[in-house]
């Protein structure tokens, strides 16, 4: 019986000499061990119930609510917030950033697989959440923008999105508005001509840097073992056992690498969206996408790059099958989903309060709203 316990505890290899230098007798021992493993059942059954040691969570990192921005940064946050909600930055004054990245709905376009642009044309990818985007190493599903500021101008000038004809059109709209002229001047006092695309995207990015949502998960990571329920801890164990954490790790639980969609099986749709290949035209980038962030994932459906996955359960099942090569049982899927729900943090309602009268002169003084700002990128990518 002793050999059984050694095998299930996983320590048998070193003990029976299958360490660094084992040779042919090792194969025999190994085949015997395999046969025994098969009859003795799965190792994880034995380990499941135990408390997860903090040391095993080394691949995660807690986040904190950002401190309020001060001085000129606070003015930039306020300006960025106003720009974020402003429909004048689109053709026909029809859309703002918030139309497709609704801050009151976890920064996505809920219920829509893809979003509709100013002329009701559909985009090609699901609107990703703007919450915690500051933690990501690149923006867009294919990572084509290295920073939030670089991202911000994209949709504005995209013909199927906000549809502005170019930077000049955007700048003309802002220059025509005296309160914007005031706000830009105060937020960028060192600029001779403060209304530029660079300052505009910087202001939006500065505002977006404050859209960070810590949750009970962060308390748990800091050592508060009661922060997660027993079910959520079981879910965390299932998440680790299934191998989810090999890509969805780090401070944002993703958003920090490009991975191939379809590792063990080719993804069924190899045509309509080939991820980074469409950007770089390198064969080695075919079907590579940025790994999405799992913070708030329960609230940011529909899921995947095309938004075609309608339930979180299904998303987990598909990931298990295509990325980790296993058919997850219904129970495993349930456990993982329970854990994923614990990653939802509260929406910072004060911080996202839309400016009441967008054109009011008070807004220009920077008095509006909460101005928290994320610390300067603690986990910056390359």
């Amino acid at each position: 019986m002793e050999i059984f316990s050694k095998i299930v505890s996983g320590r048998f290899r070193s003990q029976i000499g299958l360490g660094r230098n084992f040779a042919v007798p090792g194969i025999l021992a190994a085949s015997l061990a395999l046969a025994l493993l098969a009859v003795s059942g799965c190792r994880s059954d034995v380990e499941a119930a135990a408390e997860i040691e903090p040391d095993h969570l080394y691949m995660f990192a807690p986040i904190s609510a950002p401190a309020p921005a001060q001085g000129v940064m606070a003015l930039r946050v306020n300006l960025g917030r106003r720009l974020y909600y402003d429909t004048h930055l689109s053709e026909n004054n029809s859309l703002s950033c918030n139309s497709c990245h609704d801050l009151a709905r976890y920064g996505v376009d809920p219920g829509n697989a893809v979003s509709l642009g100013h002329n009701k044309n559909a985009g090609s990818r699901n609107s990703p959440t703007v919450y915690n985007a500051v933690l990501e190493f690149a923006q867009f599903w294919d990572g084509r923008a290295p920073t939030l500021a670089a991202q911000a101008s994209g949709p504005m000038m995209n013909p199927v999105e906000m549809g502005m004809s170019g930077p000049n059109a955007v700048i003309a709209v802002l220059r025509a508005n005296p309160s914007y002229v005031q706000m830009f001047k105060k937020a960028y006092p060192e600029s001779k001509d403060p209304i530029t695309m660079d300052n505009l995207t910087d202001a939006i990015a500065t505002f977006e840097s404050g859209l960070v949502t810590p949750s009970r998960w962060d308390d748990y990571l800091r050592g508060d073992t009661k922060a997660l329920s027993e079910e959520e801890k079981e879910g965390l164990q299932a998440y680790l056992d299934a191998g989810c954490a090999s890509c969805h790790a780090g401070a944002a639980m993703g958003g920090n690498s490009y991975q191939k969609l379809g590792v063990f099986r080719d993804w069924p749709d190899q045509k309509s969206d080939r991820g980074r290949f469409d950007l770089t035209h390198e064969q080695s980038d075919a079907m590579y996408f940025k790994v999405p962030v799992l913070r708030n994932i329960a609230e940011t459906g529909p899921w995947f790059q095309n938004g075609k996955v309608q339930s979180l359960d299904q998303a987990v099942r598909l990931m298990g099958e295509y990325q980790t090569g296993q058919k997850l049982s219904a129970a495993q899927v349930q456990q993982i989903v329970v854990f994923l729900r614990a990653l939802t943090g509260p929406i910072p309602t004060n911080y996202i309060q839309p400016p009441t009268v967008a054109a009011s002169p008070e807004a220009a003084t920077g008095s509006a709203g909460d101005t928290r700002q994320h610390r300067s990128r603690p986990l910056q990518g390359e």
Partner: protein
């Protein structure tokens, strides 16, 4: 009885030969020299050589597929191991990782080698000398630790 055995043997041989038509797809694309761990992080010669010797047969696009790797059923095992191995850790595509994720993967690699979990036990008898020496593992781990401190990714424990 004898005849039944013969038929059984023939069926086995036919199935074995038939399955050889199934050619594995290892998914080994040409290496982009700017995307590799070496190009991105410049490990010293000791670490570089140890990684190449011990890890690259599953964790890179530079897999040396042995002759039996093209013979079913070994081919299927090999194909899955390479795909899985590269999904977890791929030294040929290091530029696909942020600094944070790169650190996490290197820390994982250090932990697995220290725990003698890697290379996989069934890989070792086929590749004598592939297992990293203890001093190589320690050199690797202290390199990872230095980089971690330098990169300022302080929050990754």
């Amino acid at each position: 009885m004898r005849r039944a055995l013969w038929i059984f043997a023939i069926v086995i041989v036919v199935v074995f030969l038939g399955m050889q038509f199934h050619q594995p797809n290892f998914g080994l694309e040409p290496v982009n020299p700017h995307a590799t761990l070496e190009a991105q992080l410049h490990p010293d010669a000791q670490i570089h050589n140890a990684l190449r010797r011990s890890c690259y047969d599953c964790h890179s696009a530079e897999v040396k597929v042995p002759w039996y790797g093209h013979v079913w059923p070994a081919s299927v095992l090999l194909q899955n191991d390479i795909r899985k191995g590269r999904a977890y850790l791929d030294f040929s595509n290091w530029s696909n990782l942020s600094t944070e994720m790169g650190q996490i993967r290197l820390i994982s690699a250090c932990r697995e080698m220290r725990g003698d979990e890697m290379p996989l036990w069934y890989y070792r008898p086929m590749h004598p000398g592939a297992s990293p020496k203890d001093e190589d593992v320690e050199a690797f781990c202290s390199w990872v630790q230095t980089m971690r401190l330098r990169s300022g990714v302080a929050e990754v424990r």
